[in-house]
Symmetry: C2
């Protein structure tokens, strides 16, 4: 299966006349035609054993926690409030009831700060592997969603969160030689969302566009650029160490994790305002009129870096 | 996995303070606290290869069609309008892009009468089996949903649709000796919803409760009875042949399919009105004050039948 190709074909086949709603291909749909006072946001994610997670190092609690965080992140990064979760699990024989309840305990723990209600779902058996499908619904005042398609020329690009840590943690887990107290492993298994800080930013500044980092900083920033038809220039600066607690300017392996590692659920956003940088919040770039490519990355020596040299192949 | 046991434990664990919303365990959640003018209905279903369907006899088009019908049925049986679908597919290597597009064509065909928009989803790979998770959203004017919990004493119980045919079709498919032109096989692979007739009924009569038959007539009727705290008496009558085009009063095997076969997506509903019977719409019983069990089945000889004698074990 060539995922991107297939998604393009599906988009073409399912093209709708209702251009008001954000459609398939986005992480989160904004449904505008349902109610008079609210837009409804819907996000859905599948997690498949041995594709997205391994029972070798994830506890069921961790998987539940992360299943929630991945979806909550999609909703809150648009400025909305998550309200109702629908959980579908397909469960092989090797997994017992207590494992599933642990999964739910992890899920509920992640939902607590948002008062998300578990409102339904489906439970079936499965032949071999554990399948998880979560649908999360959220609401926002009409037309207030922060979209990925609204970046403006000269916007500053910020990132909120610790970027690349999840990828570092995954590498350690895959190496087989790890310690559960390692911060990057904790980040991979139970990513943190900086919800309070994000709310403070939304309330204080005018945010034009945003996306959460599920696929990697460069790739997700390029979704903003492409959907807004802009070029985003990202520049490595002396503050970059803030976005990864393990950053070392001379370590290109960690730079690669920062630029291309997914599953941190940090937020990339653009704003015409200037926001003071701090631990886990830094300015990483600028939005420009579109010219020839969506993303440019300028390193600390003021040299444009070819992504391929970082092993990044999606561009 | 003991599904019913586990669901009880999950319900206990996820119990919410928000008793206004219908919760996990129902086929379809009615979310009341989202918008000022509408209730939002959400239903979600998983279909797993070799658990819920086999690629030996289902075409991808059929599976897509049925994935849609199962969810549409949940929404319309509550009197609501389905609006937006979210489709998550986990796809093994043996399935190619064209197979998936066929799945979508089937899904879209079933959605056509309702103008349902495909608004999102997720596409991932899978190790061995094809895994489908569909979430369907619908809307209805506030507090107008027909619930399963509102059956009234002396209500008549009706069924709209051809009951037990899907089960007969499945048996033929499993026997390996079948003809795709056989009506019961058609019903199993591509169930029909009698939407227009159901809308006519809703508009003309006061419907107190309803449910669609996904698990079997007796079991789904018992959900109405249990949720309404009533006893439903179902009686075999001379009109019973109408609900199954293959009905033969002396054939207990077919009676078993009628009473216990699932996936017809016929509607069971209760009303204090009298509705003229016709092809595919018959009166099958009566609602009474609860006494000792939720469902009684009285056969055409006026004898109460023990379900176990029909091989039915859920009671």
């Amino acid at each position: 299966m060539q995922e991107f190709n297939l998604i393009e074909k599906i988009k073409k086949l399912t093209e709708s006349n209702n251009t008001d709603n954000l459609n398939i291909g986005d992480d989160c749909a904004v449904i505008k035609n349902i109610s008079a006072d609210k837009d409804i946001l819907v996000t859905t994610d599948i997690l498949v054993e041995n594709i997205h997670f391994s029972l070798d190092y994830y506890s069921f609690y961790d998987i539940g926690y992360k299943s929630a965080q991945a979806n909550i992140s999609d909703i809150i990064c648009k400025g909305a409030n998550p309200t109702n979760a629908f959980i579908s699990l397909s469960i092989p024989k090797k997994i017992n009831d207590e494992n599933i309840l642990e999964w739910y305990r992890g899920f509920l723990e992640a939902c607590k700060p948002y008062n998300i209600e578990i409102s339904g779902g489906d439970t079936t058996s499965s032949k071999d592997f554990f399948f998880i499908s979560v649908t999360l619904i959220g609401t926002i005042e009409k037309n207030k969603s922060i979209l990925r398609s609204n970046a403006k020329n000269d916007d500053n690009v910020y990132v909120l969160g610790f970027v690349g840590e999840s990828d570092l943690g995954l590498k350690k887990l895959l190496s087989g030689n790890y310690d559960y107290n390692d911060q990057s492993i904790k980040t991979h298994l139970r990513p943190t969302l900086f919800y309070d800080k994000w709310q403070e930013i939304i309330n204080k500044y005018k945010i034009n566009s945003s996306i959460d980092i599920s696929d990697g900083l460069l790739q997700d920033a390029s979704h903003i650029a492409e959907n807004s038809n802009k070029t985003i220039e990202i520049y490595e600066s002396s503050n970059w160490y803030l976005v990864n607690r393990f950053f070392n300017n001379n370590n290109k392996k960690i730079l690669k994790s920062i630029l291309t590692g997914g599953e941190d659920y940090a937020v990339i956003f653009t704003t015409s305002d200037n926001i003071p940088e701090e631990n886990n919040l830094i300015k990483i770039g600028k939005v420009h009129e579109y010219s020839s490519k969506y993303i440019r990355f300028i390193d600390s020596n003021n040299k444009e870096i070819n992504f391929d040299s970082l092993g990044f192949v999606h561009f």
